[in-house]
């Protein structure tokens, strides 16, 4: 467990250092070091871990995500430029089947790039499945299908979410 956490911290540190080196042309390390220390402390106390993904599913997931991103941008653009835009904004709850907090956070983040949905957080209730609080642009539109499809894609992608014996 401790070894896994140390490995995750090392991996994230290497990743952050590589991104910093690339974007700053290998300069300003004196500024990076305090940020890196803060990142390590945050990662330790927030118990952040790098999710294990199935690499064979990754291309399909990327294709699905970017297709949804394009659809989401067209949806917003169409509403913005239409002569009489259709709006019926409302808050909605969505029962998640994802169980791990890291997966739920990832779903909540990615949903904000899907057509017509924007997430505001996860509500936990021991009596029922965790609920995702969503703001939708049009409550009469079929926003559930897109969210469910993204959730299924994440279930296939993340190893921690698929139960033993499940087929892909």
């Amino acid at each position: 467990m401790i070894f896994q956490r140390m490995t995750d911290m090392a991996m994230l540190s290497i990743l952050a250092a590589l991104v910093w080196a690339a974007l700053t042309q290998n300069q300003g390390w004196w500024f990076f070091l305090p940020l890196w220390l803060l990142m390590l402390i945050w990662q330790y106390f927030a118990r952040l871990t790098l999710p294990s993904v199935r690499l064979q599913v990754l291309p399909g997931f990327i294709w699905f995500f970017f297709r949804q991103l394009v659809l989401g941008a067209f949806d917003v653009g169409w509403r913005a430029l239409a002569r009489e835009p259709q709006f019926s904004p409302q808050w909605q709850s969505y029962s998640m089947s994802l169980t791990k907090p890291a997966s739920q956070r990832l779903l909540a983040s990615l949903i904000s790039l899907l057509p017509g949905t924007c997430s505001a957080g996860v509500e936990q209730d021991p009596q029922q499945p965790d609920q995702l609080l969503l703001h939708v642009l049009d409550q009469h539109a079929d926003w559930q299908t897109g969210v469910r499809a993204l959730e299924q894609q994440l279930t296939r992608l993340l190893k921690q979410e698929t139960r033993a014996g499940d087929t892909l």
């Binding site: 941008a73 653009g77 509403r79 913005a80 904004p89 505001a120 957080g121």
Partner: protein, 102 residues
């Protein structure tokens, strides 16, 4: 399509189309900020339209740059996507909490 050299006609057309598409998405996002009815709906606009707008502009600029610059631009776009969607979520949560408390 060489760096620093002349672009072919097809490359120039493709690059221009992508740059114009990006510009259109940025304009649509800005118009949405003015026309959408509430703060939450405006968050949809800035997150989605501007993300794709920036992606389209980066794709258009890729015709003029070398592989390393292209890689850096892709990295910047991914970071903007990640920060955009996370900050959208945090802003929505903050506004909702304030609204519920009022």
């Amino acid at each position: 399509m060489s760096v620093g050299g002349e672009l072919s006609v097809i490359s120039t057309l493709l690059s221009s189309a992508l740059l114009l598409t990006g510009l259109l998405f940025f304009i649509a996002g800005s118009v949405a900020m003015l026309r959408f009815p509430d703060s939450y709906s405006r968050l949809h606009a800035v997150t989605k339209a501007d993300s794709l707008g920036l992606g389209s502009i980066i794709a258009g600029l890729m015709f003029y740059c070398n592989w390393w610059q292209n890689l850096l631009m892709l990295l910047i776009w991914l970071l903007v996507l990640a920060s955009g969607t996370v900050s959208c979520q945090l802003l929505a949560r903050f506004c909702k909490t304030k609204q519920d408390q009022a």
